[in-house]
């Protein structure tokens, strides 16, 4: 049955050159996951020679071939004899899609996160990595593989020497990244250069990639655990895309931030608003900020943050957002544009730095170099509000988050308070005082907003009708559970499905 044929003189078809090497010719089956071929080779030959034959037959480059026999990888320097490869036996072949050690898809997905850094460095230098990574990224392979570790990333580009030569000098990728970011902070032109780089723009236009990057940050992960709404936001591709568009356009961001400054200062004057906003800031944005800024060494706002409750947000804090007034008027676009022209009085000195880590509510995408008069002048809050107010769609996405809804509901319940505030706020001057009429306008629009918004949130079942139908079509028959999941995720079907699956053994 099993034979050990040492000689097989009949087989001599295309093996002339192999025979010349001496020894008998054996037929070895080379099997890939997709196909298999029989290859005639001299039994004395080396693995390298074997690979030469294989590369001809499989039309692949020799250095892309990895041979496995009996659970061992065959190294080029070995011989077939060494491994006991005899006639009729099978060798497994894996054709790597990238020449370097890192696998194809992993290096593609991991390319983006050094993409920013190395594209920055290589804008002056080699053009090889950017086009390659761009091509890879545009295939959207992000979702299939999480960002890989630093070592993998660098080797994926294949020109480590180039990077080192660009003056960074450090072999540790994390250090490189930090250095780069530090440089970015100090040099705004560098940032705009980066942003202009098509590679970066391409990368940023891929929401999945951005999400991967953000989620890869351990602080972000912690943050997301504490505040599940954030992860829902991250999972909303539209939101991400808008955030990224925002981050890409520094001019737009600056304008928005200026506008937001004013809006925030208005917010302060509403009774209860200050505390609520502060809570929100410390709950979400400070940790997010720290997460992104951690590499910069310190959180510039740690001094400003100063909330006595500390930034160790407890989940129970989510309940406290109930009385929060709605600072984000949705159709502020007209207002913001008007105010944008005239809001020179604001103390915003935001420089849009480090667009490399924009996040959902965009506090991170904002320059950290600003100094505000208080929490509410922080670029985080400003950019958030401006971004929201400028883009109604974004507004809607944010509103569908559960805490937003509860905010609006409570506000709707107290319309008297809301109506009392506009006249009260007019005389009240705020730290970054601007023109009064615009403040009033903002408040009024806010009122309109949540008046309209609360109606749409009163019947979640109706709101989620469509999603419920989709879920039941997918096979989730427990309507109540579906509804709960949808409410919790604010209508996000994918997140709701995950929730539902998470509660069942899969």
């Amino acid at each position: 049955m099993a034979e050990n044929s040492g000689t097989d003189p009949a087989v001599n078809t295309n093996a002339d050159e192999n025979a010349a090497k001496g020894g008998t010719i054996i037929m070895v089956t080379v099997k890939t996951p997709k196909d298999k071929e029989e290859i005639a080779i001299s039994e004395d030959s080396s693995v390298a020679q074997f690979k030469e034959e294989i590369s001809k037959r499989f039309k692949a480059k020799q250095d892309q071939l990895v041979l496995i026999f009996a659970g061992k990888i065959l190294k080029d320097g070995d011989t077939l004899n060494q491994h006991g490869i005899k006639d009729g036996l099978t060798v497994h072949l894996v054709i790597k899609t990238s020449p370097k050690a890192s696998g194809g898809s992993t290096s593609q997905a991991s390319a983006p996160s050094p993409g920013v850094s190395s594209s920055n460095r290589s804008t002056a230098g080699a053009g090889n990595p950017p086009p390659a990574s761009t091509a890879n990224q545009s295939q959207g392979t992000g979702p299939s593989a999480a960002p890989a570790q630093p070592g993998n990333l660098l080797s994926g580009f294949g020109d480590l020497s180039n990077l080192a030569g660009l003056g960074m000098g450090s072999s540790n990728f994390m250090e490189l990244q930090q250095q780069m970011q530090r440089q970015l902070m100090s040099n705004p032109e560098m940032l705009s250069q980066i942003m202009e780089n098509p590679l970066v723009q391409n990368m940023m236009s891929n929401p999945d990639l951005m999400r991967q990057m953000i989620m890869a940050n351990p602080q972000m992960q912690q943050l997301m655990e504490r505040n599940p709404e954030i992860s829902h936001m991250l999972n909303n591709p539209e939101l991400m895309r808008q955030t990224m568009e925002l981050a890409r356009n520094p001019a737009m961001m600056q304008e928005m931030m200026r506008n937001q400054d004013r809006a925030l200062s208005n917010l302060e004057s509403i009774p209860g608003g200050y505390n609520a906003l502060r809570r929100m800031y410390t709950d979400i944005q400070e940790p997010m900020f720290s997460a992104a800024r951690e590499q910069f060494g310190n959180n510039p706002f740690s001094a400003l943050g100063g909330s006595p409750d500390g930034s160790g947000a407890q989940p129970s804090r989510t309940e406290n957002r109930e009385p929060l007034p709605n600072p984000w008027g949705p159709s502020e676009s007209s207002t913001t544009e008007n105010r944008g022209a005239g809001s020179t009085a604001t103390t915003t000195t935001t420089t849009s730095t480090s667009g490399s880590t924009p996040s959902v509510s965009n506090p991170l995408g904002v320059g950290s170099a600003t100094v505000g008069n208080g929490i509410f002048n922080s670029p985080g809050m400003q950019s958030l509000m401006q971004q929201i107010s400028e883009n109604p769609q974004l507004m809607q996405n944010m509103l569908s988050a559960p805490y937003m809804r509860s905010m609006m509901q409570s506000l709707a319940q107290n319309p008297e308070i809301a109506s009392q505030t506009p006249p009260a706020s007019a005389p009240t001057s705020t730290p970054a005082a601007g023109a009064n009429p615009s403040q009033q306008q903002l408040i009024q629009q806010m009122l309109q907003m949540f008046a309209g918004g609360s109606q749409s949130t009163q019947t979640p079942e109706v709101r989620f009708q469509q999603q419920l139908e989709q879920l039941s079509a997918m096979g989730f028959i427990n309507r109540e559970a579906n509804l709960q999941a949808l409410i919790a995720t604010g209508g996000d079907i994918n997140a709701a499905i995950e929730r539902l699956l998470g509660s069942q053994p899969s």
């Binding site: 049955m1 099993a2 034979e3 050990n4 089956t29 099997k31 890939t32 996951p33 298999k36 990895v66 496995i68 026999f69 009996a70 659970g71 061992k72 990888i73 006991g84 005899k86 009729g88 036996l89 099978t90 060798v91 497994h92 894996v94 790597k96 899609t97 990238s98 050690a101 890192s102 696998g103 194809g104 898809s105 992993t106 299939s144 593989a145 999480a146 960002p147 890989a148 570790q149 630093p150 070592g151 993998n152 080797s155 890869a216 899969s506």
Partner: protein
């Protein structure tokens, strides 16, 4: 030696088929050796003796090709499999040599937790090294594993 191996394995095969009797350990392992060399299976796992001169047929090497569309794609994971004296009545010891982040594999030394792999936890003497390797590969395709961030390629456990 290989001639001996092959003749013994053919004997053992015929024994199993006809009588269903408990096959002696060595026969069984020789059979598995032959299968490994012939590439039985779908070509996504490979196994063989660590040392060709190992007469006890105890120390084996395995290789798993990372399944596509997972984070393990295109990587090759090397493993050590140890078939004890009571094999195949008792399951083998399996440990990864290549570093991997996979549920059920100890992060520090690559040892595979017997309870995490159903083929090991509910071992039957008809199972083989191939079955274990294929099961590990299947685990890589599980939702909970397929996106776990992995250490850089090429690292191995040192202990």
């Amino acid at each position: 030696m290989t001639a001996l191996v092959f003749s013994m394995s053919s004997l053992s095969l015929s024994t199993v088929v006809r009588t269903g009797v408990k096959v002696p350990r060595n026969f069984r392992l020789l059979e598995e050796l032959e299968e490994g060399q012939k590439g039985v299976g779908d070509g996504t796992v490979s196994w063989g003796l660590e040392d060709d001169e190992d007469m006890t047929l105890t120390r084996w090497r395995g290789m798993i090709i990372g399944p596509p569309r997972t984070i393990y794609e295109n990587r090759m994971y090397s493993l050590k499999v140890e078939c004890g004296p009571r094999y195949p009545e008792t399951p083998p010891f399996v440990r990864f040599v290549t570093k991997i982040n996979l549920n059920g594999v100890h992060n520090s030394n690559g040892v595979v937790d017997t309870r995490a792999v159903s083929a090991l936890a509910k071992w039957q003497n008809s199972y083989s090294i191939r079955v274990v390797l294929q099961e590990l590969r299947r685990l890589m395709m599980c939702k909970e594993n397929m996106k776990l961030p992995q250490p850089p390629e090429g690292q191995i456990y040192t202990n």
